[in-house]
Symmetry: C2
């Protein structure tokens, strides 16, 4: 019997549409059960997100950005992040997005984990970083349609509120999962 872990073989690919940030492609693939299926796949660029940790008076505080999200038509609060440019090191993308969105320059960037935002129909990777010892060095430097408010939370407050409004972006919970695991591993100390 065919197993869930067995590979499918792609026999055809057809671009359905190009939407600036990604193309939609239809794969025709032969499964381990001997049948062909058709699957729509998107190919966005990789994404990087960064949890900026600031130490103030001995307690950890975390920078966040608030912005309107056009998919749901509402504003949410998130960690800084964005697209990894072609050929760019994901850690560099994380530092760059932090600087552009908040004006903070990372002292140290730590890779917390990498995963797939939605492997069922998206091919890209999602890289999660923490930025330590960041310092405010510049004004925000945003794209024409980026309007981003910078906010600051205590780490406890942020972790307690993660998953409830305004922290309901699923991938922020993913990032928080990696961050919490890293905190618990004691690597920070």
């Amino acid at each position: 019997m065919a197993g869930g872990g067995e590979r499918w073989i792609v026999s055809a690919k057809r671009v359905l549409g190009d939407f600036r940030l990604f193309r939609a492609t239809e794969l025709t693939s032969l499964g381990p059960h001997g049948k062909e299926g058709r699957f729509v796949v998107l190919d966005p660029p990789d994404w990087a997100v960064v949890i900026p940790v600031i130490e103030r008076n001995g307690s950890r505080r975390i920078l966040a950005v608030r912005q309107f999200r056009h998919g749901i038509g509402e504003a949410l609060t998130e960690f800084p992040g964005g697209v990894v440019e072609p050929g760019e090191d994901p850690a560099v993308a994380a530092e760059r997005e932090l600087l552009e969105e908040t004006g903070y320059k990372a002292g140290r960037i730590i890779h917390l984990g990498t995963c797939s935002p939605n492997p069922a129909f998206m091919s890209n990777a999602y890289h999660v970083f923490a930025a330590l010892d960041s310092v405010l060095v510049a004004e925000q430097s945003l794209d024409e349609h980026e309007i981003v408010d910078v906010e600051e939370y205590s780490e406890d407050e942020l972790l307690a509120g993660m998953g409830q409004p305004p922290w309901t972006h699923a991938l922020m919970m993913t990032a928080a999962w990696y961050y919490r695991r890293w905190l618990e591993s004691g690597l920070k100390r």
Copy 2:
């Protein structure tokens, strides 16, 4: 100055393509900075996922499903889940997907949280449930191209491995975040 939390007003919508599971639509929206921008939005149906908890000899074990994911061209391990049908209660969708993918019938379904899988460009919601006191009652009942292996993990093993292969589906970490918060809240006891 325009704020990140301020609303944009949609002035035009144009369907770019229809891909069975979702359409791609271009929004033209007027921002709080007084300029119009164009944004591509996908409208997948809502998704529901369920963490099936089985008590065996006094310790908690969790059912998982292993399946090939066409977006990344690899097999991953995940919690059971799928699409919420039009008009369907998300809790019912979670129970249904659990039964179809594993043959287990949930004794009790608990809503752990709801969030947005990707609010930047997807309009849908992601509902996370736990299933308690589930009992094996049937064979799997899968769609033509679903090939799903059922696996079982100890809760400790699963939470320790979450975020590393084969647990690298970002939305499974989102689900685990809600589950862990629920465990820690002591609601279970």
